[in-house]
Symmetry: C3
Subunit: 130 residues, 3 copies
């Protein structure tokens, strides 16, 4: 298991980690297998989405925020229930196949760390199985 | 890794792929293990849901559409931000256990390719690990 | 594959299963690997979320209910389309790394069975790969 560090800069942000994950795959020496990306936080998530037009990521943050506004009738007293909800619908894990030592992403796909309660120093855990 | 072809017929559709995935498992020769189904697109997803009553799938498409309407204040200029959002909350991967060469699905479960920006020719990637 | 039994007590409930999953990992004898948790139901899900403050779980149930109210223009005649929708956005699978025989969860994370149409007797399937 490799622990990557991510330092987010805003409260909400899609932070691309494709190249860091690919580097982890390369260092593992695994040629054919599966790469699992895990977020050990409860107000952040991992998402595979379009890496070409950054407007897609902005639309995702904006419209997921419409579902779970920052201010609402939440019980949890830390003021970040919206972030827990967003993380819950996006998810903590991404799985990508590996062939010839490369992540098998679709043409438009990238891997994103989704920050919903930053800015913070975060971790992403990666495991590559042959 | 096996690449399955899916040809969707509408803009939004839950297209059942359970039997194609089972065939891939059978051809792999794996008796006990895990089958991973991956969608390499950013406006489509994979979902394990009820396979008995097709009204469930229609309810899912209709009510996810209420969350992310096709027309809204989106930045992405291609007119399919709703599809990126729907794909983001449903997800790109499904994992199913394999025992005695069969997918271990619950009584009511089937595996669906979720088209959110069709009709299109799509791919689903499948990997079976022993 | 190990089948755990869960008996939920309400229509909607986040039922923590972290210790049962850890016991399964311990019994498997696997020291380093991956643990996959699978829910074979279509109106329930599995979620990795905060285990410290139970208000987080209550906020999640309440605000996901706002997205998919129990009563709405649903086609499916069993009166639980909301539960199918909630299960679809939360998901049927959780993946957690294992090191030194222990689940590698983040500081605040626990594993929850999400009941959306209980109370019922449910199953959770767990597989640990070395």
């Amino acid at each position: 298991m490799t622990k990557l560090k991510v330092k987010t800069g805003k409260r909400e942000e899609l932070y691309e980690i494709t190249s860091e994950v690919q580097s982890t795959v390369s260092r593992s020496g695994v040629s054919e297998g599966i790469c699992t990306v895990y977020v050990p936080h409860t107000t952040a998530a991992v998402l595979i989405q379009e890496a070409a037009d950054p407007a897609v990521g902005r639309d995702i943050l904006t419209h997921v925020r419409h579902l779970f506004p920052r201010e609402a009738a939440y019980e949890h007293a830390e003021g970040n229930s919206d972030a827990h909800l967003k993380a819950s619908v996006v998810g903590t894990t991404a799985t990508v196949f590996v062939e010839k030592g490369k992540l098998c992403l679709g043409t438009w796909q990238g891997i994103y760390f989704c920050e919903f309660d930053g800015p913070r120093s975060r971790e992403v855990w990666v495991r590559v199985q042959g």
